[in-house]
């Protein structure tokens, strides 16, 4: 980076604020489209902005028996972790800001931090609903992390066999060398299976229906979030919005990193603009298929059903994907 510290701060701020705004816009699109699918009119696209502003104007209640510093700290940590995710993910043609300092493994950890922060906040709230929610979140975390990691590591491993020199865990390398260009038919099938597994992991990672078990409003009254109000709830709301974008951006970087500008022989600022627009559309497509359609089409699973789903079929699919990638290498 040649611009020095000032430019770096500017870029960082742009990514953070842009990420938050984008997250809220995608949340608005999500709610609008879900409403349309249910034959409703639905809230205006700006609704998430109204929600956040309203939550910030509300009183911030800390329950008497809660451990205040943990209770108040959890939402901050959660938002900080998802926001820093944006620095490590390639966003629409631009290399990740801190690409040189963190890789896929760090991204996996950062993805788990908000869930852990929510768990800590839930236990600290000293509410039975929040404790049940936190325990469920723990089970969820243990269920979906395994297929997630299998998928990510298999992709990185396959790339390392092709480019032994490159640091294959770096997201810019992964995004610059989509595996589709290298693998044979077997590997392609494997990649499709891995993409499928990650598409199923996404709603669980984001705690969306059918995997919103830790927050289940109708049975445990909002679970983890049951005691949160006002500013703290707004922070969790924002963190959820940003995490949706980050998770979709990760999938885009791994599976559909192609830009449009090269193909249209564009250059200069126009190329950047086209690539960013194309990236936003790709993120929307991922969000549409892994969050919106799923959340409208399914009812909430029970925690044991969700755990079984991730441990047996989804892990199975990702293992088959991994084996196919290995066979592809041998063949």
């Amino acid at each position: 980076m040649t611009g020095g510290i000032g430019a770096a701060i500017w870029q960082g701020a742009t990514v953070l604020i842009g990420g938050a705004l984008l997250g809220l816009v995608y949340k608005g699109i999500d709610r609008k489209l879900a409403a349309r699918m249910q034959a409703r009119i639905g809230p205006p696209l700006r609704q998430p902005f109204f929600d956040v502003v309203k939550l910030l104007a509300k009183e911030n209640v800390v329950p008497d028996h809660a451990i205040a510093w943990l209770f108040n700290g959890a939402p901050v940590v959660s938002l900080a972790a998802v926001s820093s995710l944006l620095f490590y993910l390639p966003l629409g043609g631009f290399a990740p800001l801190l690409g040189g300092h963190g890789d896929l493994v760090l991204v996996i950890y950062l993805l788990a931090v908000p869930a852990i922060a929510m768990m800590v906040g839930g236990f600290a709230a000293a509410s039975p609903y929040a404790s049940v929610g936190a325990q469920r979140e723990m089970v969820m975390l243990m269920s979906y992390e395994f297929p997630l990691v299998i998928a990510l590591v298999s992709i990185a491993w396959r790339l390392s066999t092709i480019l032994p020199e490159a640091s294959v865990f770096s997201l810019s390398v992964l995004a610059a060398n989509p595996l589709w260009d290298w693998v044979g038919p077997l590997g392609a099938v494997g990649l499709v299976l891995l993409a499928l597994a990650l598409l199923v992991v996404t709603p669980a990672e984001l705690s969306k229906i059918p995997f919103d078990i830790p927050e289940a409003e109708t049975e445990i009254a909002g679970g983890l979030l049951a005691e949160y109000s006002g500013r703290n709830l707004a922070l969790f709301y924002l963190a959820d919005a940003v995490k949706t974008v980050a998770m979709a951006a990760l999938l885009v970087a791994l599976f559909f990193p192609y830009g449009l500008a090269d193909r249209l022989w564009l250059s200069g600022p126009l190329a950047g603009l086209v690539d960013v627009a194309f990236f936003l559309i790709k993120v929307l497509v991922v969000v549409f298929f892994s969050v919106i359609v799923v959340r409208v089409g399914f009812a909430r699973l029970k925690i044991d059903q969700a755990a079984r789903l991730f441990w047996i079929p989804v892990t199975g699919i990702s293992l088959v994907g991994m084996v196919l990638l290995i066979l592809d290498r041998v063949a």
Binding site: I41, F50, V61, E227, L233
Partner: protein
């Protein structure tokens, strides 16, 4: 009290408290949330906990055991908040007005902003009541500013 942002009335989250209703009004509240009436287009959402709520929708006369609970739920709701009474029972006691275990209409227990009459009331009326609650919140704010 600070001025409420304009977004406030575009994002009212409601929490439903049944203090002894016959379940008639409760079903109408559920009807107001269905795609036919689509409360979400006004930003109205049903929450699972009073901590997230801006408006408490209270149905039914307040029975003896529920009195304490209603007060507790009211206290658990973060400010600024408004109570909307849904149905004749909650407004006046209705058909249960002289029942041995009724401790009076809702406004005998917690401050009420809006009364929605009807036995049961129409979903349109409930939506209207919640939107009016936003106006009440503003009045409250104005009176506290001038006071």
């Amino acid at each position: 009290m600070r001025r409420l942002p304009r977004s406030f009335k575009r994002a009212l989250w409601v929490y439903h408290v049944a203090t002894g209703s016959c379940n008639g009004c409760d079903i109408e509240i559920v009807a107001a949330l269905t795609p036919r009436y689509d409360a979400e287009r006004f930003g109205i959402m049903l929450t699972g906990t009073p901590r997230h709520a801006d408006v408490l929708l209270v149905t039914g006369p307040v029975t003896r055991p529920m009195r304490e609970r209603l007060i507790r739920i009211y206290d658990q709701t973060p400010d600024p908040k408004a109570v909307v009474v849904v149905g004749g029972c909650g407004s006046t006691g209705g058909v249960f007005y002289d029942s041995y275990n009724v401790r009076g209409p809702v406004d005998a227990v917690v401050p009420v902003a809006v009364y929605v009459p009807g036995c049961p009331c129409r979903p349109e009326a409930i939506l209207d009541g919640v939107v009016k609650a936003a106006v009440e919140l503003e009045k409250l704010e104005r009176s506290e500013v001038s006071a």
